[in-house]
Symmetry: C2
Subunit: 336 residues, 2 copies
């Protein structure tokens, strides 16, 4: 089932696009080119797929509206969140050796590692710069929230890197890692607009909790796509996470299931040679037989329900709440 792209995402993309372009124009030409490639503004390396879903900016805009603000008031914070997201993708692709991003070659494969590291640095610096240009108390608090979230996603990535060398990673550890790597920035995105327009603390807290839970649902959906998603959907080779032997949630759930299928999966993934397409199909089936797929689907559903409960408690106007839920369901849908 393919969920329709909620109009908020298109709207948020249109809102932040000029802000991002103006910000990137401040960079030196070499760094600006890397950023333009990442955001899908240039087709340097073929393809013209637009850059990303503007999920985080859309959440930021909704959170401003939840607190009675207007979309326009929060365009700097929405753009800043997207800049931090872009920074993390540029650096993560280098660290993880991922060669493809959004159906196109990852920036480091086109411009080299050094320029991609530098472009990530520049986008992180620009994010801070954008927020510091607006010296309302709300923007200062927003800058603080974004800076904490940035540190959270860095900590998550550090945990993720450490898992690569370990054979005994537990589901709880991967959940904790995902809460930082994916959850912290989504929690920030889902509340930073409210922060910027001076929303009340309890609403900000509830919106952040919504974002954190939705973030986990998103991660689980992404992990399922990394095993069963089609290349057309993911923009990556089929079975990409199994191929790279990533320790994602459904895979770790299967590996730690104490089932015969889980044990066989462990032996298959420990194989020192690259896995053939048949091996990868077997591995995917073993994740399913060991219950990893069903668990991840169930867990994603629980997280979505929890996210929606936080919204109800937050005193968010009903129309905004519905839009939040549309986005949450969209990002957790299997085929976006």
């Amino acid at each position: 089932m393919t969920a329709a792209v909620p109009p908020q995402l298109t709207g948020a993309r249109a809102l932040i696009d000029p802000v991002l372009r103006e910000a990137v124009a401040r960079l030196d030409p070499a760094t600006a080119r890397v950023a333009a490639h990442h955001f899908g503004w240039t087709d340097t390396a073929g393809g013209s797929v637009p850059g990303g879903k503007a999920l985080r900016p859309a959440l930021a805009v909704l959170s401003a509206r939840a607190a009675g603000g207007y979309a326009e008031e929060c365009s700097p914070v929405a753009a800043a969140v997207e800049l931090v997201h872009a920074f993390s993708l540029l650096h993560d692709d280098i660290m993880d050796g991922d060669r493809t991003r959004r159906h196109r070659p990852a920036a480091w494969t086109v411009f080299g590692q050094a320029h991609a590291i530098l472009a990530g640095d520049a986008l992180l610096a620009l994010a801070a710069e954008l927020l510091l240009e607006h010296d309302t108390p709300g923007h200062l608090r927003a800058a603080r929230s974004l800076s904490l979230a940035t540190r959270g996603l860095i900590a998550g990535q550090a945990m993720d890197l450490s898992f690569e060398r370990r054979q005994d990673v537990t589901v709880e550890e991967v959940l904790r890692m995902s809460m930082r790597k994916t959850g912290d920035l989504l929690a920030c995105a889902a509340s930073i607009g409210a922060v910027a327009v001076g929303g009340p603390d309890d609403m900000v807290f509830a919106l952040a909790s919504f974002g954190a839970e939705a973030g986990l649902a998103f991660q689980l959906a992404d992990d399922l796509l990394g095993i069963w998603g089609s290349p057309e959907t993911t923009g990556k080779p089929v079975r990409s996470d199994l191929r790279a032997r990533k320790k994602t949630l459904p895979i770790v759930a299967a590996l730690t299931s104490r089932t015969p299928a889980g044990d066989r999966l462990g032996r298959l993934l420990a194989w020192p040679e690259p896995l053939s397409d048949t091996d990868l199909d077997d591995a995917a089936r073993l994740v399913e037989d060991a219950g990893g797929r069903a668990w991840a689907e169930q867990e994603a559903k629980h997280r979505l329900d929890a996210a929606e409960r936080h919204l109800t408690a937050a005193g968010v106007p009903i129309d905004v709440r519905e839009e939040f839920c549309d986005i949450a369901r969209f990002i957790a849908s299997r085929d976006h």
Copy 2:
């Protein structure tokens, strides 16, 4: 001639050390270990040389005093500047392939590229975080100044990377690059304390100009050390910049001198094989014969004089001015 280490540097190190340690303690353990190695707090990889000269924090403290403030008031800004400096060193060493830093293995050679990239990211995020915790108008302006300087040094590094592939780089281009890569953060360091304590705009501007000129003098001294410095002084192999065929100021001045020695240097550095120790000695002599060394020494002196003139114009109290000049002379001295 070895200049004595000015006491301000030791004082600044003592002032920021607890702030840095508290900030690094917020990081996940893996990232904190990389940071601790970089700052010289651990001897993971042998050696116990302390991390850096605390030059930038010392300038930050002096600039607060120039504007009538106290050192203690500016410990967050002094630490934040040092964090940005550390971020840039961690990433530059990866990009430039430099394996040694301060007499010890560069962080990426000990912990791997991924963890070193991440540690740089984390220190940049911490710098913003430290300033945002203090919401005086001065700290907000200081955060803005630091964020602009960060972008400046990133632009400088991008220019530096682009020079690697070019054979026709001019002295003017290298000067422009150094003004960003080294000058922007030193200009920020030399004025950010005054900014934080609410110093007048014209003093802030004059202090930043002092820092920019002192920064170029520092870069020139560093470039001379990269050719003629002893490994004991530089913590790097002898003739390290010639060995790496870096396009530093004295080297480019020699290459573009239109002298026979300059032309011979060009042919030697274009040699496709690694250069022998004899080649490197020859290359150093050719830089000297082509006038690159004398030019760089003279230029450093001019920059120092210009730096001191800015201070005189800035209305900085005489005792603080003397201390600024001590530091400027120290960093531009040949054997620090």
